[in-house]
Symmetry: C2
Subunit: 265 residues, 2 copies
């Protein structure tokens, strides 16, 4: 559990706790109001194509910051940070398979590593809650339901594959407001990809998500689907790069940017 | 002059006219309502850093599409196009100096060329006009005034330098509306960078623009400044790549995307 005092710590203070090994949990709720980011680290050889993939698929892959080869400080959105130590838990993939779960990258780091920080749904979920739209998975502490769709991403170099979406069950009278609220945040997935009928986007069984926990859809609620940050990871993995490092699910990188810095209008 | 009949041609039809050498003029007003783009072509060696520069500076460098090395079809935003032939006039720069002005790139093309298409202000200018905001440079057929500011861009690899802005003189009662209207188009420069006092952003003499034609500011008008697509070209040029190809000013690439495809909310 994130304690009340941690909610009021600054991103910089929390990154220091993480770096010192004193914060090893998922980051949900920590540094409330600040943008948290998904992490993907790839060798330079893959960097142009992966950045191109993100540019071509901005809804599942909203780029928050990309570091230059070997750069470890997230200098624009989190000055004085260190990407090798400031994420609570990392996943290491070799040839597309999980090979290690580690708490820092100091020994593993190579000068040709390029770090990609991509927006995550925490920012727009806060905006939904602030607009009176309840998110049951927040209250129950479970994970949002995620599904592999039949919507193709736009390929780039070796990267291609279907879009992964997250689903939130929204009371029907709040669906329009949910579209408006999340449209203000194109930098962190933005507006929904789809509203209603799951089979229209290739989801055959809503009660069996491909990732995360199942969601109970109540009477009068509509399933609403947003592009999900799992997409770039799953796409990168399927191209089986020799090495790729990501954050462990829920263990995000916390930037100094406020959610509102990513809003339009 | 663009004729009335050309205004009603589709982007694909105009690209064919350009390819066949039957349209050699600036593209302003052609295919009204469709997104036109700035072009920058660089060798693969520079592509990651230049894409990173664009990602870090989205207001002056809004990416519409990037092609893979050697790719000539703008496959996402203009299927069946050819970037070597579908711009009315190209500028070729060698080591940062203009070396040729040519109407197609067929002989010059190399398999490691990476083409960047970046948003241009035509889209948001149409939106301003549709909202009752007159743009005198449109009516007089002169070029918008552009200035080199003291606002630094965020560097990437060899690319760095000051931001170039364009200025439009807006009646004071329309300034708020101009901010709202252009905020809807973050993909084509978006909201203004600055409103009012030119010296606050390092412009010492408003009547002497660094590029384009001077603007007369009338009583009751306020100068409003937007990030300008000249920025990435001037930044790329100052790093003196062995070769770089751009569109000639005003001779843009016309995509199949509508301005409204780039709006939020």
């Amino acid at each position: 559990m994130t304690t009340i005092s941690e909610v009021s710590l600054s991103p910089k203070e929390i990154r220091k706790l993480i770096r010192d090994g004193e914060f090893k949990r998922p980051t949900s709720g920590a540094a409330a109001g600040y943008v948290q980011a998904n992490l993907a680290i790839l060798p330079k050889e893959y960097a142009f194509d992966f950045l191109l993939f993100c540019q071509r698929n901005p809804k599942p892959c909203p780029v928050v910051e990309v570091l230059e080869p070997g750069q470890v400080e997230v200098s624009v959105t989190a000055p004085s940070s260190d990407i090798r130590t400031d994420v609570p838990l990392y996943h290491v993939y070799e040839n597309g398979k999980l090979s290690a779960e580690i708490s820092n990258l100091t020994d593993l780091w190579k000068p040709d590593f390029v770090s990609f920080l991509l927006g995550c749904s925490f920012s727009f979920e806060s905006a939904l809650i602030n607009n009176g739209i309840r998110l049951p998975h927040f209250e129950s502490g479970t994970n949002v339901s995620m599904y592999i769709t039949n919507i193709p991403t736009v390929p780039a170099g070796p990267f291609s594959g279907p879009m992964v979406v997250s689903m939130r069950s929204i009371p029907q009278e709040k669906v329009v407001r949910a579209v408006q609220v999340t449209s203000r945040f194109p930098g962190v997935h933005g507006s929904p990809i789809h509203i209603g009928n799951p089979s229209a986007i290739g989801i055959t069984n809503l009660s069996q998500p491909d990732f995360g926990d199942p969601t109970v859809i109540k009477e009068g609620e509509v399933p609403v689907f947003w592009a999900c940050g799992v997409t770039p990871q799953s796409v990168a993995m399927s191209s089986k790069p020799p090495i790729m490092v990501t954050h462990a699910p829920g263990h995000m990188f916390i930037t100094d940017m406020k959610d509102e810095d990513y809003s339009v209008l």
